[in-house]
């Protein structure tokens, strides 16, 4: 008999898989390094990177010294970063499964997508929750541009808020725009220099892990196109 849930869903004992995507340079690797630093003391972590042309992301994370280098694995995407996280997730799934097999007590596997455009999101068959990262220095209007990641990723990060004064962006307005685009889904205005924002991020991840362990975390699809609701409500964690 075929078991449609055989590979990825409904296996509460395996690690929580967290996807991190967003355009190039918005701070995905930095956010993962930050989470490693913040969470490694009491959680078992591993990372899969999807590099476009080099193993820069994996090397940067290894160099950051936040995790055992063997827990950071790179997959190649054949110049198709979008495909690798959405339509053919095989290489990423195998990397995540191998990490889970090599480190049996893993709590969280973070998967960094190759920096792509605003339309790239993860398949819910690859990750349990996904974080979409925007750079405040990329422009205050980006949150209004919308797209599946901005509107419907499980968490939207407006990153590098410390840069707002230097690039003439109104941080609070950008966060307000982002919230308006997301029908109540969470937004965190993050900066690595802002302790409170870091605590907010780690609390969110820990909360997802609790949901995952309780078996109540159902991966949501930001979808490629128009917004959709599941039944009668929009699911918010």
């Amino acid at each position: 008999m075929r078991d449609p849930f055989a590979s990825s869903l409904g296996c509460a004992p395996r690690a929580l898989r967290v996807g991190v995507c967003g355009p190039v340079g918005t701070g995905k690797s930095s956010l993962i390094a930050l989470l490693c630093r913040e969470l490694a003391a009491d959680l078992e972590l591993a990372v899969v990177t999807n590099d476009i042309y080099t193993d820069e992301d994996a090397r940067m994370l290894r160099a950051a010294g936040v995790l055992d280098p063997d827990r950071i694995r790179a997959v190649e995407t054949g110049a198709c970063p979008h495909t690798a996280i959405r339509d053919d997730i095989t290489a990423n799934l195998i990397a995540a499964e191998e990490l889970e097999a090599d480190y049996e007590d893993l709590d969280v596997v973070m998967i960094e997508s190759g920096g792509d455009n605003l339309t790239a999101t993860f398949s819910p068959a690859l990750v349990d929750v996904q974080i979409f990262v925007l750079d405040i220095a990329g422009g205050g209007d980006v949150a209004r541009k919308g797209g599946p990641g901005i509107e419907r990723a499980d968490l939207l990060i407006v990153n590098k808020t410390d840069l707002a004064p230097y690039v003439g962006v109104d941080r609070d307005q950008m966060v307000t725009d982002a919230r308006a685009a997301r029908s109540g889904r969470p937004v965190i205005a993050l900066s690595r220099t802002d302790r409170a924002s870091i605590d907010e991020l780690t609390a969110w991840v820990r909360h997802q892990l609790v949901h995952h362990r309780d078996g109540v975390l159902v991966p949501q699809d930001p979808g490629p196109m128009a917004p959709h609701s599941h039944g009668d409500h929009v699911h918010v964690h």
Binding site: M1, R2, D3, A6, S7, I52, Y53, T54, D55, R59, V75, E76, T77, G78, A79, C80, T83, A84, D87, D88, I89, T90, A91, L93, I94
Partner: protein, 211 residues
């Protein structure tokens, strides 16, 4: 359903059929490269697949076939690539045919090669040896061709012509190996330059394709 289809979710987009390191080393004659593969590494793979299919149909153990394939695939990087691709395809085959004995037999191997996994798909779907060999050849040509479009400035229509023009050679290769049944018959057609490129690629830190 097409097993040699880029739309099959088996991470085909991560593969260039060894073209990326070849191009990095200055190769520009892609049709010639494709022909070289068809008479060397791809022929070995096709023959291994055909012999594996025979063993699966006769319910014979596959260990000797895998060993013969490995002995004729001297590059560790190439063996690793084939096993990684085998793993991806096996993942799909297990989902498609969870109860098929041929799939179970290959799944029981330690890191089966891609030809062995393809043979199990052929066994389940009733694909004959010649069709299987043709599939291995055609898939290899298409893998190189679609990677070429990413690696070199080309007109996609020209590349489609290359694929078309390689088909008789695919057919000849398939015909040549279709009758094989014994692991000893698998040709030992090494290609040292392809192997050297594969090894170099496995060590570089700049690459678009996994192999």
């Amino acid at each position: 359903m097409l097993l040699a289809d880029a739309r099959l979710p088996v991470a085909g987009h991560t593969q260039s059929g060894g073209l990326e390191p070849a191009v990095a080393d200055g190769l520009r004659d892609v049709p010639g490269y494709v022909r070289t593969r068809l008479t060397t590494v791809t022929r070995v793979d096709a023959a291994a697949g055909v012999v594996a299919l025979h063993h699966l149909r006769q319910a014979l153990p596959l260990g000797a076939v895998e060993a013969a394939w490995a002995a004729r695939t001297p590059s560790l990087a190439m063996r690793r690539t084939s096993r990684a691709q085998g793993k991806a395809l096996l993942r799909l085959a297990v989902r498609l045919w969870p109860d098929a004995p041929a799939v179970a037999a290959v799944a029981a191997l330690d890191s089966p090669s891609r030809p062995a996994v393809l043979a199990s798909c052929a066994a389940v779907t009733g694909l004959g040896p010649r069709s299987l060999a043709r599939l291995v050849g055609y898939d290899d040509v298409q893998t190189v061709a679609s990677a070429a479009l990413k690696l070199l400035p080309l007109d996609p229509a020209d590349v489609a012509c290359w694929v078309h023009d390689a088909l008789p050679e695919v057919e000849a290769m398939a015909e040549g190996v279709a009758g094989l049944t014994s692991p000893d018959d698998i040709p030992a057609a090494g290609a040292p330059q392809l192997e050297a490129w594969a090894e170099a690629h496995a060590r570089t830190t700049r690459r678009l394709f996994s192999a």
